[in-house]
């Protein structure tokens, strides 16, 4: 159970994790409402504390070890993205504990931190820093990234002049340039034009294979089957079923057919 016993291996565990979002609509976000509520002895309680709480995750307990390829399945709003963010440490749980061992690479928005006015090279450096690489690590990988993007001299000009395909090549190359122990993905990243697609596919394959743990939220059964050996079925913020990929996918698809 204890993570310290798994030396130099990646691990990810969630213990009774609950995450809930208070919905701050106009009124309750204002200081005035909050102060009035305090001052008036609760008279305006219905106004200021009319807070709707969305329970995005309820008592989720999961444990993954090196080699686990986990598919997160469930309908929209089942809590898949929130669960990934809780795993990444972005949302710290309201109750419960999330433990992780290993460098986490959240691949939610691979264009994060792209500055249109900077050159391709500068964007690669910035993005690398955001991912937690040191300046040296980035320079070491620079050749590989440049080669992969096939952008050549374009890397010297501001990225706002890039076409969307070129932009994808750049962000994709940087996002996959180092091998993290834990990869969290919200939908499988499929990038770029047809010619680039095969290359990208190959790169993401090696990227994922190098990772100790992969957690992938996807709506595609085919992609889940291809990449994962385990599955977690989320429903209304709870783990409905988890286990072997085939059995979970089968019951998930059956359940959907019945309701459909």
């Amino acid at each position: 159970m204890a993570i310290s016993s798994i030396n130099n291996k990646s691990a990810l565990s969630l213990e009774n994790v609950s995450v809930s979002f208070p919905i701050y609509h106009g009124g309750s976000r204002s200081l005035k409402k909050s102060l009035l509520f305090r001052g008036s002895g609760g008279q305006l309680a219905s106004d200021a504390s009319h807070r709707i709480v969305v329970q995005a995750l309820r008592n989720v307990s999961l444990e993954f070890q090196t080699g686990d390829r986990v598919a997160l399945i469930g309908t929209n709003g089942a809590g898949k993205t929130t669960l990934l963010r809780a795993m990444a440490g972005i949302y710290e749980p309201v109750t419960g504990v999330v433990r992780s061992l290993g460098r986490i690479s959240p691949m939610f928005d691979i264009s994060l931190g792209i500055d249109g006015d900077m050159s391709g090279y500068d964007n690669i450096r910035l993005r690398g820093l955001i991912l937690g690489l040191s300046a040296n690590e980035i320079e070491d990988r620079m050749r590989d990234i440049v080669e992969f993007t096939e952008l050549g001299d374009y890397l010297d000009i501001p990225v706002r002049t890039y076409s969307s395909g070129m932009m994808t090549r750049l962000t994709f190359a940087v996002a996959t340039c180092f091998a993290p122990e834990i990869v969290l993905m919200d939908e499988w990243i499929v990038a770029g034009d047809a010619a680039f697609l095969a290359k990208a596919q190959q790169r993401i394959e090696t990227f994922v294979k190098k990772a100790g743990i992969l957690v992938l939220a996807s709506h595609s059964s085919a992609i889940c089957r291809e990449w994962c050996n385990k599955a977690v079925w989320m429903e209304r913020g709870e783990v409905k079923l988890h286990g072997d990929i085939e059995s979970v996918l089968d019951s998930y698809n059956n359940a959907r057919e019945i309701t459909a």
Binding site: M1, A2, I3, S4, N7, N8, S10, E15, N16, S18, S20, F21, P22, Y24, R29, S30, L31, K32, S34, V53, Q55, R58, N59, S61, R85, A86, A88, G89, I90, Y91, E92, P93, V94, T95, G96, V97, V98, R99, S100, L101, G102, R103, I104, P106, F108, D109, L112, G113, D115, D117, M118, R125, L126, L129, I130, L131, G132, S134, A135, E181
Partner: protein, 323 residues
């Protein structure tokens, strides 16, 4: 059972596992709401575990001091990131303009000169006394007020970062502090211009402005962190601060000298901004700041750091929910 569940996270020690709070799912569900209210914070632990990164986030109500410290420590370690981000902020604003960030210097110089000439006339004071005083006062005030005014967008402005990747929150604070320091350095050119024009030489005492500036930066960073967090939760705080800052500007001796107060010196004495200004302004004008100002600043700094530190420790984990 519920009682036990509520207190359990408080008893947690680092890296110890308490499996005891696992309850049957029905019981857990029935107390969900109480738990949301009581367990608003989490304790977190970013520690390098051999070569691998070890990260623990958990629910709890205590002041997560260790987590707050590790946030700041990890944030400092990411200096290449915030130095670059802060520098980019400046570049972004003045990209493709000829003067670049020196537009700041130019507009500041125009303001200093026009106000200086006008007010020296109005107050009937010799311009060679008044203009340097006004110039240094405005430079430092500009730095202090930018911490207050831009604090509101500290976290709400980087929502895309906060929601996509876990970075220490202090990174955003250091980034904003660094970019404000760059702006201050650009504006500071005016000071040298004025020294040359009026042929003033402040002497070695001017070096005291450096520790003074560091204290201003420390207080500014703490204030901006506090404002950033409160503004993320309450969206009308930035507006409130805008109007307060304007009043403070007129109440603080920047455009006028504290001597004009005569018997009403309390207006300056009880103004924390006056003392913060004074420990930078006085040395740059060649005089020693009063002991009163130093004591006041040390007092302000310690209160500021303790209060903001406690606030940060308590509500740090809520920032990603608020933005």
């Amino acid at each position: 059972m519920a009682e036990r569940l509520r207190t359990a996270p408080r008893g947690y020690k680092k890296r110890s596992f308490h499996v005891s709070n696992r309850l049957p799912s029905r019981q857990r569900g029935s107390h969900a709401i109480c738990r949301i209210i009581r367990h608003m914070t989490t304790i977190l632990d970013d520690e390098p575990h051999k070569s691998l990164r070890y990260l623990v986030t958990r629910g709890g109500t205590s002041f997560a001091l260790a987590a707050a410290f590790s946030d700041i420590r990890n944030g400092l370690a990411l200096w290449p990131l915030w130095l670059r981000l802060g520098w980019n902020d400046i570049l972004q604003r003045y990209r493709r303009s000829m003067l670049g960030p020196f537009w700041l210097t130019a507009s500041m110089a125009i303001m200093v000169i026009s106000l200086g000439v006008l007010y020296a006339e109005l107050f009937n004071t010799p311009i060679q006394d008044f203009l340097p005083y006004l110039c240094v006062g405005l430079l430092v005030w500009n730095l202090i007020s930018s911490f207050l005014l831009e604090g509101g967008a500290l976290f709400t402005g980087v929502e895309s970062y906060i929601k996509q990747i876990r970075l220490p929150y202090s990174v955003y604070v250091f980034r904003s502090g660094w970019s404000k320091l760059i702006i201050f350095a650009h504006n500071f050119v005016i000071y040298f211009g004025i020294l040359l024009y009026f042929g003033i030489w402040p002497g070695a005492v001017a070096l005291l402005a450096i520790p003074g500036l560091l204290l201003v930066l420390l207080n500014g960073a703490a204030a901006t962190l506090f404002i950033g967090m409160v503004s993320a939760r309450f969206r009308d705080v930035p507006q409130l601060i805008n109007s307060v800052v304007q009043i403070v500007f007129f109440v603080t001796p920047i455009m006028w000298r504290p001597e004009l107060l005569r018997s009403r010196t309390f207006i300056a004495d009880f103004n924390p901004f006056y003392h913060l200004l004074e420990i930078v302004r006085a040395p740059l004008l060649g005089s020693l700041p009063s002991a009163k100002s130093y004591i006041a600043v040390l007092l302000i700094t310690s209160v500021n750091v303790v209060v903001v530190g406690a606030f940060f420790a308590r509500f740090r984990s809520r920032i990603s929910y608020w933005v």
